[in-house]
Symmetry: C2
Subunit: 715 residues, 2 copies
């Protein structure tokens, strides 16, 4: 028998020696060979990290991981409130190997399992049966080069796996049978057997990174939603944006000056359109691509005055930037020694793993932006497209590999910029062009150039499976129908943004639908208490505010539906796409009601709806309670006493909690928040009666007047 | 000042330590940092390998390279006949670095340079300004996943670079400016400067592999054709197929049995169609996908009898196979311990770097195929498509990495199967689904599924820049026009093959164009002496038989033309595509003539041609001499004395050489060949007179009767 050599990285030189020997034609006879069996792989040793969270390592991973780059402390307290759970898969079959400079993991799969997640995907939901070479990049097509290539998947069997290694990663999701797989499919003859398969299913997920080791994390369920919640909580809990961030965002044309901004704000007011955030695009920099981060004196001669005026009017200013530093920037000389070997658009690339580099940028930003009243950033161009990033062989002064930099640069920037706001006890809601695993706690919405409406909605649906937020921002349209349909979608997303940086569009750019656009934006504003509560659940409980249907009870996981989703606690959104006069909607089990009328819509069935152009189909589950404020044009200027309309759908008694806090600071972390209990109870006559009581927390909510509206009962 | 640390691989642990230290928030002050400058890279030390060929290494590469996998000895003698040449680029600016487990090379570029090559590309010619992450794969789109991802490029400045490292490789071809690039473009402001570029050009090619080192080879010109010749000669010289291989190939439907093959052969004869090779598809195996390599007794009960009959009729039999071994194969148990960890279509994957594994397969093939009269193979499914290959983390018993296996498996198989024929002193002409650098000497034509006629021709044009052969095989068509246009193209390619494995098509499948199809195939047969001589030049001089126009004198390199090409010494082919009634043709400087009529066509200009459906536009350069035989239906049954028609085009005196040998054995390597001198000399009256004389070599050619045909002069 041959002597079996287990090929450890530590023995690599030895292995290479054997290979060379084996390959020489002259060699023969008994040689040491590398073990090629599952049996020869190491069995993972799992350590409990929190209730329902375990970790194991193979080899000797670097100390830095996605979680350490993201740097948000695990929400152990919140996790501890979740039920204890048993280790959800067969430990004996979780295996690892270090071989030829690869860290390899093998996680078993049952035949019926489906897999979800693996990044901000623009196509489909089920990931089983595909191969993913995940890397941060500008999405063009396929499933590999993603703005957020999170190596985290959720199984329909109710557990999740996270390969916590900040590298390019290859994941064979139920593809690639080992010769000794315990469940090898039947081998068939292609010539004669019609059941021959071109892609026989495998009984495992296998993944590798090119590194000396890798950490793998397992998240228990029992439900897929529980898996997602545990993941988000382990990443620090979902972010809680400021209230104003959940209003309407409008990005100016790149060459707009302060006067144009002020005129635009006035035009919004004149036309009675809500407006909470104005985004300034590259033109605000004195030079851009690469950037100076300094105000363009021609366009913004008095930025402090401009910002003060905007803030007084309740308008928040968000600044576009990319991270590549122009030689004309004041920080250039100081930051230059802390930059990588290569440029992007000829700008130098700071190594923000170095505290000195972070200090240089944040000091400049704090003094020249935040001190003036800037509310957040849009971090552009950290997504690659290969051409618009450093090459993968660039050298960084810290020694961090270019690959690792690529996978984590967006995390580094989110952490750094978020940190500036946090140290001022001021929340931000911002944008970022890329992200990765571990980012749940950062209030940054991803945006992309892939301007396909279906793809946008699929990405929105998948974002919750990747622990990131996403805005299907509206930029332009070929018709008023498309304009309105896209506007409806973005009003039911993480961030409601019109981005006119190049198109120079306004909400009223299609006059035929100006009223309908205003209506849908106002509906979004009216839903603020509902949406804000959904984000509070994201923060405190890990429940994403937008969720694929498959996370919804009663929907099942058999259908990979990417064109409808849950928005907040109880609203099902079924966007209409250009050209559609009607569409089908899959309603989960139970009873569902039309959001606008309270009429019964069905349940546990496929219905067809033919809404007018002015309406995006919205359905509320039985007992759904939707708190709404009156429409306002500035969330920051809400009156102190806001009357609350509390809608109830269906005929069942129900209770929900409404979250509130100051909406602007991090004081909620110190307990300064409250949950109100909204209860619809049955009266003796069988009809429902609504009441509101304090559930928890010392904060004095802005809601005092409550008007219950029993949408179904009143019909 | 900071102390600069040059990050060598040998110091990797040290570097990682530094990184960790630098990344800790608590660290500050003076730290060692990795050098990020060109200056800190190593300057390559170049060693002359042959006239006009130099090698350098960075780091400590594995001993195995593409050239060692291919294993053909460099044609030093032939290279020595080429002119000496100076090192063609600035040595001081050729730099290398080992950093973070990457071997990185930097080769300078001048602003005007264009780059060609980088594999069997299906789009375009000029590779400058693109990024290539080359890996062996099934081509779908893009420029990265290629059947032959050869990391070899040719500069318009007349030199070539070959990264001789059998790994996935990333090549930034004039993309990615270092912060200290000597020729950094002007940095512009995107806001205000219209000359701002989204992809500023860089002054270097930078490439890396994930390995401890890399060999880089430089090939001198002075012309681009010289670069290609030196590359091919260094790879052992181009292959010389047997004469029969240059005839007509027909692949049977996968379920055909011996009777059907014999009926098909008879039908070819009855319809007067040439036929030299019959290809048998998966059905000939007793089981396929995975394969047994054993005859299906139902379809071929007496393979020896069948093969003898075919060979007697002058028909050569080519066997399809993929390398994945079925448990039903006789060799299964024996080869199993020598296989990798993973299966492909559930078949095991032999590690053919192991001599024992090669011995098992070749013994079986020799006994059960070659001894019976099989003439060659079609090696399928070595191109990946990720799904149809082992995963990149598979383990092979020799310790060879899965990545290296993927990049070289097609080379290993070509070498192994070619070796069987060679040891019988019997030439083969075969097919392979993938290849890589170093394969010039192997008589295998690549074929692909990407069934786009334009893409096929582009691949054919690019094949010569990758040192591989390619057949734009015909399979099916949506119209008789398409059928004929594709048939015309494949008759002017490396291998004239109709592949009916699935479509069950025959040359006469479109009756409306049966005569035209017969005519073009017969023209291909008639050109045998011309085509065979072109392959002889490939073998002895490295000149590819099919060449992009940019390798042709007088064409220039300004135009990236992929829809016309040179075929042999002097014929320009301009294929017509379905729907075209006319097309433009760019004629190089000089005078060019219509192949069919001898009429002047122009020169140094763009002409428009409107050929009838029956004609593929062909042009011959001034003084072009084209030797042709009469049409025959079996090249192997050519009579002993073949009358030669020698066509001459234009009015200039000219001389060319005609190659001949036995066409079947390797005796030409022992000098048993001849070159005949065909001369058209001016008579006193100014007209031309043709003569033939022996130029070199002891072989007695089959050509004795010479009929000169002065195509232009006679008009």
């Amino acid at each position: 028998m041959k002597k079996i050599l287990k090929c450890e990285s530590i023995g690599l030189v030895l292995v290479l020696f054997f290979c060379a020997a084996l390959m020489a034609d002259s060699s023969s006879g008994e040689k040491e060979v590398c073990a090629t069996t599952i049996e020869s792989m190491d069995t993972f040793e799992w350590t409990a990290k929190a209730p329902g969270v375990w970790s194991a390592v193979i080899g000797h991973p670097e100390k830095v991981t996605y979680l350490s780059y993201a740097g948000a402390p695990p929400g152990i307290a919140a996790l501890s409130k979740m039920p204890a759970a048993a280790f959800p898969i067969d430990k004996q079959q979780t295996r690892g190997l270090i071989h030829n400079n690869l860290a390899i993991a093998r996680i078993p799969l049952e035949p019926q399992e489906k897999l979800y997640g693996l990044g901000l995907q623009f196509q489909g939901l089920n990931r089983r049966g595909q191969i993913y070479h995940l890397r941060t990049d500008h999405y063009k097509s396929g499933n590999e080069r993603l703005h957020a290539p999170t190596p985290f998947y959720i199984s329909s069997s109710g557990y999740g796996i996270f390969f916590n290694s900040p590298h390019f990663i290859s994941i064979y999701a139920g593809v690639g049978n080992r010769k000794d797989s315990p469940n090898l499919p039947v081998i068939r003859d292609r010539n004669t057997d019609r059941q021959w398969q071109s892609r026989p299913e495998s009984d495992a997920v296998e993944a590798f990174v090119r590194a000396d080791g890798m950490e793998v994390l397992v998240f228990a369920g029992p439900t897929m939603l529980d898996v997602v919640r545990r993941y988000n909580l382990y990443c620090g809990g979902g972010c809680l944006p400021p209230k104003w961030g959940l209003g309407f965002w409008h990005r100016m044309h790149t060459k707009a000056n302060d006067q144009k901004v002020m005129l635009e704000v006035a035009e919004f007011e004149k036309r009675d359109f809500p407006l909470d955030v104005i985004g300034l695009e590259p033109g605000w920099h004195s030079k851009s691509y690469p950037c100076t981060f300094e105000w363009n004196e021609m366009l913004f001669p008095q930025p402090a005055v401009f910002l003060q005026k905007m803030n007084t009017e309740g308008i928040h200013i968000n600044l576009w930037e990319n991270p590549y530093v122009s030689p004309e920037a004041g920080i250039y000389q100081q930051i230059k020694p802390l930059c990588g070997s290569h440029t992007v658009w000829l700008g130098i690339v700071p190594d923000y793993t170095l505290p000195q580099a972070r200090q240089i940028l944040t000091r400049q930003h704090e003094n020249e932006h935040l001190a003036l009243g800037v509310s957040g950033y849009k971090i552009d161009e950290v997504d690659g497209y290969d051409f618009w990033l450093w090459p993968d062989h660039a050298v960084f002064p810290s020694g961090t590999s270019a690959e690792q930099m690529r996978q984590t640069y967006a995390l580094q920037l989110q952490k750094m910029l978020f940190g500036m706001f946090r140290s001022r006890n001021q929340r931000t809601y911002s944008l970022v062009r890329a992200s990765n695993a571990g980012a749940s706690a950062y209030p940054f919405a991803i945006y992309t150039d892939h301007y396909d409406h279906h793809g946008f909605i699929t990405a929105l649906v998948n974002s919750s499976l990747a622990g990131v937020l996403y805005t299907p921002e509206i930029r332009s349209a070929r018709s008023s129908e498309e304009w309105l349909r896209r506007m409806q979608s973005v009003c039911f997303s993480h961030m409601t943004q019109l981005n006119g940086w190049s198109s120079n569009t306004k909400p009223w750019s299609f006059p035929e639908v100006e009223n309908e656009v205003r209506d849908i934006i106002k509906l979004r504003i009216r839903l603020l208490p509902y949406v804000y509560t959904a984000f509070a659940r994201y923060h405190f409980e890990g429940t994403p505010p937008i969720r694929p249907m498959l996370l919804e009870m009663g929907f099942g996981d058999k259908k990979d539906v990417t064109d409808q989703y849950m928005f907040g606690d109880c609203i099902l959104v079924a966007p209409m796409f250009t050209g559609q006069k009607s569409r089908t909607v899959i309603l989960p089990k139970g009873k569902w009601y039309d959001f606008y009328t309270g009429e019964a819509a069905g349940g546990g069935e496929i219905i067809t709806v033919s809404p007018p152009l002015s309406k995006i189909p919205l359905f509320v589950k039985d007992g759904g309670i939707v708190p709404m404020i009156p429409a306002v044009n500035r969330i920051s200027q809400l009156p102190e006493d806001v009357p609350l309309e509390i809608r109830h759908y269906g005929r069942s008694p129900a209770t929900t909690l409404l979250y509130d806090d100051d909406g602007e600071t991090f004081d909620y972390e110190k307990g300064r928040y409250c949950w109100l209990r909204l209860s619809a109870k049955a009266k003796p006559d069988g009809t429902l009666n609504g009441s509101v009581s304090k559930h928890q927390g010392p904060y004095q909510s802005m809601y005092h007047q409550f008007n219950w509206n029993f949408m179904t009962q009143k019909r």
